[in-house]
Amino acid sequence: MLEIFLQYLQREGGPCKGRDTSLHFGRIDRGIVAPISHLGALVAVLSGVALAGRMRKIPIVAMTYVGDGASSTGDFHEGMGFASVKRLSPVIILKNNRWAYSTPVSRQSLLDDLAEKARAYGIPRAVVDGNDVLAVREAASRATERARLGKGPILLECKTMRMKGHSEHDDAWYVPRTELEFWQRRDPILLLERRLRMEGIASETGLRKIEERCRAEIELDLETALAAPFPRPESCLEDVYAPGPEGHEHGKEWMTSGGRG
């Protein structure tokens, strides 16, 4: 949690060292490939990661998340084709949250299930209620197990709803209120809590205690992140190029000679 806050607040110690924006979180040493905004492209990128794993004989599972919008882009389809013919096994989660910025899913596709797109590439597919935490977990586990055995790609569509705007500056005025209200009642946390109570696994007090503990943890990490310093300004030139022969270091040349004039 602390690392996420450091990333969002662009502080020293954040995984991207203050170079990239909030959501573009990556830590290759932990197997997290930083995404870019053009999510459709991630299908090919993570297929490439799966390919790298195969070539280097490292047992890894590549998984990526795209949305309904990404599945409408050309990159998504190119990636699906690539993963399929190379017999790679990425797990592709298609988080269908009904809105690609201001474009509803009905303006993007005539399919009831976007997962159907997988058929064009001979890729197996699964559809799951994205707001049912346990169902998602089970489907993801099965998909991951399949990938681990190298049985080819899988497209897993999780149906859900985007409850806020595309980003902070978007108040999502174009989303019908009734649609939001419908999905509000299907909030994944509420549904899970209800189920835990009904099955007698957790009591109301127990659940509130968990919530309090989570809140305290979040508050503490947020405070720590807010108190953290910003990275050194000149660090923005580091980690870009491999060190060249002496006297030809790209960043340094900019700083010492003509860089400033």
Binding site: G18, Y101, C236, W254, G259
Partner: protein
């Protein structure tokens, strides 16, 4: 009396006028229809011009910058494509630039003036077509050229302009063509890093002084 408007509003009005005037002009872009664009630039365009797709290549930083608010002429007018504008006349050194960097060049020129260096500031306005004549003519006039751009260094337009000056004005130059640019690195996001990355008036001034003294 007309009111001063932002860069954003000026683009909006310009697009609107041209689309009114010529039905071959259209906009192409993401979420610019019903949504009206991430910056609300094309809000209302869909109702007036219909569901044509909308392009959009402006400088975000300038959108609502109070400093460049201007009162526009009442009558219809068109800014020529491929024609640079001299924003400040001078005789000792030429600052060639475009976009948001123009403001830094003007600030630097102001300070240079007080130091006894008369700087000419050329705003390219368009890069393709490039106003080669204006570049050549300011270089011939001052003999010293500093190119300033926000783009990264390697492969930036400054390299091309330097080559043009070598080809067309070499005998008139009294010093090396210098450049102030962003470094060859991805644009960082964290505020102190971004400030460091972007060229500013101080860096322009430093290079200009060095060139003036050459």
């Amino acid at each position: 009396m007309a009111e001063a408007i932002t860069y954003l509003e000026a683009i909006r009005q310009g697009l609107w006028e041209e689309m009114e005037r010529d039905d071959r002009v259209f906009c192409l872009g993401e979420d610019i229809g019903v949504y009206g664009g991430a910056f609300k630039l094309t809000r209302g365009f869909l109702e007036r011009f219909g569901p044509d797709p909308v392009i959009y290549l402006e400088h975000k930083y300038l959108y609502r910058l109070p400093r460049i608010k201007e009162v526009l002429p009442e009558e219809d007018y068109v800014v020529p494509i491929g024609k640079a504008a001299v924003r400040r006349y001078g005789k000792d050194i030429s600052l060639i630039t475009y976009g948001a960097m123009l403001l830094h060049c003007l600030d630097a020129a102001e300070i240079l003036e007080r130091e006894g260096v008369s700087a000419e500031v050329l705003d390219l306005r368009t890069l393709l077509p490039l106003d080669v004549q204006a570049i050549e003519s300011t270089a011939r006039k001052t003999g010293k050229v500093l190119i300033v751009h926000e783009d990264t260094r390697t492969g930036g337009i400054a390299g091309e302009i330097t080559a043009i000056l070598n080809e067309r004005a070499f005998e008139f130059l009294d010093g090396p063509v210098l450049r102030v640019t962003a470094p060859d690195a991805p644009v960082p996001y964290s505020p102190p890093l971004e400030d460091y990355f972007l060229p500013n008036a101080a860096r322009v001034l430093e290079a200009a002084r060095r060139l003036a003294a050459y």
